[in-house]
């Protein structure tokens, strides 16, 4: 039983990690990003090939790939983000879904559909605490998800830029009247979300195989985690990750591994019926950007 709980919590941390970037882009900015999974897939491949050719550990290359992603979105992809921010939600769905498909097929063309993985010194290392066992790589992701959650929470809550981001999301026109260059805010926040997502991708590589369509599984979970936790709530993402992770671990054992998605979707629906703004969502914020 304690093994199940530990596995579930570690898995929850991993789910939170892949969702934090989406929470910035979708939860805070309200840009529907259906290419989120493909962002993870691309960064996993980047980490993979860096390891393959240069023998650079994915934990190290993640620290290069993430800032690089940030810079790319601040410069080369800037017009793309501006266009996306100015589009309707439906437009964003089409645009990002299209980008996702293009990225998937590019990966398929360039790298084939082979399952690839790295074999670092620690990727098969396991830690035993009494009867409970878990892999080191998962513990690393879990701890980093806590670090990212705390850092981002304080950044959004306390820093002036964080307040600027929240103000812009709550009322874009008035934000302009305050002297905020709202496009800059959108591009910056999107780039930050993409960078955190890329970082998460690097962390996943020692745990999962990478192949062109792996993103879909992650994106589905990330969307559920973000909505479950509450759009724009950073602690909510962590909580949402734990709920899904624990549900998956427990239902996999007590019911059936093939039923886990059914179970967590039922829980997802139940929580949304009871708390439409999500577990930690501020009441009323779920409608921002819709009205």
């Amino acid at each position: 039983m304690s093994q199940l709980l530990v596995s579930g919590i570690l898995l929850g941390g991993l789910y939170a990690m892949i969702s934090i970037g989406l929470n910035l882009i979708f939860g805070v900015l309200r840009i529907v990003n259906f290419a989120h999974g493909e962002f993870i897939m691309v960064s996993m491949y980047l980490a993979y090939w860096t390891y393959f050719y240069y023998k650079i550990d994915p934990y190290i290359s993640a620290f290069v790939i993430a800032p690089l992603t940030f810079l790319l979105f601040m410069t080369v992809f800037r017009p793309f983000v501006v266009k996306l921010a100015d589009s309707s939600h439906l437009g964003q769905v089409f645009i990002t879904f299209g980008i996702g498909i293009v990225l998937q097929n590019l990966a398929l063309m360039l790298f084939s559909a082979d399952y690839r993985s790295v074999d670092t010194a620690y990727s098969r290392m396991r830690i035993a605490l009494g009867e409970v066992q878990f892999s080191l790589a998962r513990l690393v992701v879990f701890l980093l998800s806590l670090v990212f959650t705390a850092a981002l929470y304080y950044y959004l809550k306390k820093s002036y830029m964080g307040k600027t981001i929240r103000a812009t999301m709550q009322n874009r026109t008035v934000a302009m009247l305050m002297g905020i260059d709202t496009r800059k805010v959108y591009v910056f926040t999107f780039a930050l979300g993409a960078a955190i997502t890329a970082f998460a991708g690097g962390l996943l590589l020692p745990i999962f195989y990478v192949y062109p369509t792996i993103g879909f599984n992650f994106a589905l979970i990330a969307f559920i985690v973000v909505i479950l936790g509450g759009l724009g709530s950073i602690p909510g993402t962590l909580a949402g990750g734990f709920v899904i992770g624990l549900t998956e671990a427990l239902s996999g054992y007590f019911i059936s591994a093939s039923m886990k998605q059914l179970v967590y979707f039922c829980i997802f629906i139940l929580i949304l019926v009871l708390r439409p703004a999500g577990l930690f969502g501020q009441r009323g914020t779920e409608e921002l950007g819709v009205k």
């Binding site: 307040k163 600027t164 103000a167 709550q170 008035v174 302009m176 009247l177 305050m178 002297g179």
Partner: protein
């Protein structure tokens, strides 16, 4: 009189293909309170939005000898033109204090933010009491206070207020206008305000422009217009 601080000449403004303002000319001189009055959908708000750079316009808007043509909203704010929008436009899920801090976004305002905040709290001690409350939970009158205070945080050289009396009880309106007159008297900040309450506007403003279907149809000193038969008939129902 001195040179106008703000001079709008032959302004035409558009929402997409629809022309909302026709050939509007208007001036604001240093130290004045100028009111724009008119019915709903006459184009009052659009006029303020044009000055703030939120809508597309033709003609010319000159502020402090400099044309605002092609400037983005944030550049206009940096010039000291602060627009307090209709319906307060507070950030509902930010606290009162955070709203005020964001009001001082422009670089020069941010440098002075600490002192300005003290000043604002001296004017409205109520806001200091409620500084950690979410702005969306304030009462209507407090929200209007907070919105004007947030405007002051931007160190306005020209303060534009869109319908400050909207939806407020008469007593609160009185307080609100007392505060506006105070800002104007104490700091000499010129104020351009849009008001649906014609009588109130004519009492409080030095000069008034009457706008109808996107055109200025009358202008003059507030006190004089009050005696104008057309105004009395059309707007005051007397």
């Amino acid at each position: 009189m001195a040179e106008p601080l703000l001079k709008i000449s032959n302004l035409n403004a558009y929402y997409g293909e629809v022309q909302v303002l026709h050939d509007v000319s208007l001036e604001v001189y240093p130290g004045e309170i100028v009111a724009i009055v008119g019915a709903n959908a006459a184009g009052k708000t659009t006029l303020l939005k044009s000055i703030s750079g939120l809508v597309r316009w033709q003609g010319d808007i000159v502020y402090g000898g400099r044309s605002l043509r092609g400037l983005k909203p944030n550049q206009i704010v940096e010039l000291g033109i602060i627009h307090v929008p209709e319906g307060r436009g507070l950030f509902p899920f930010l606290t009162v204090l955070e709203n005020l801090e964001i009001g001082a976004y422009a670089p020069n305002a941010r440098k002075a933010a600490k002192e300005t905040l003290e000043k604002v709290f001296r004017i409205w001690p109520r806001l200091q009491e409620r500084q950690n409350q979410l702005a969306g939970t304030l009462s209507g009158g407090e929200q209007q206070m907070c919105a004007i205070a947030r405007g002051l945080m931007g160190l306005p050289k020209l303060l534009m207020l869109d319908e400050p009396s909207l939806g407020l009880a008469p007593l609160i309106i009185r307080d609100c206008y007392a505060a506006i007159e105070d800002i104007n008297k104490r700091d000499g900040t010129p104020i351009l305000l849009v008001e649906q309450n014609v009588k109130l506007a004519m009492q409080k403003a030095d000069r008034v422009y009457v706008i109808e279907n996107g055109r200025i149809v009358l202008q003059g000193k507030g006190a004089e217009l009050m005696d104008d038969d057309r105004v009395r008939k059309a707007y005051m129902g007397i």
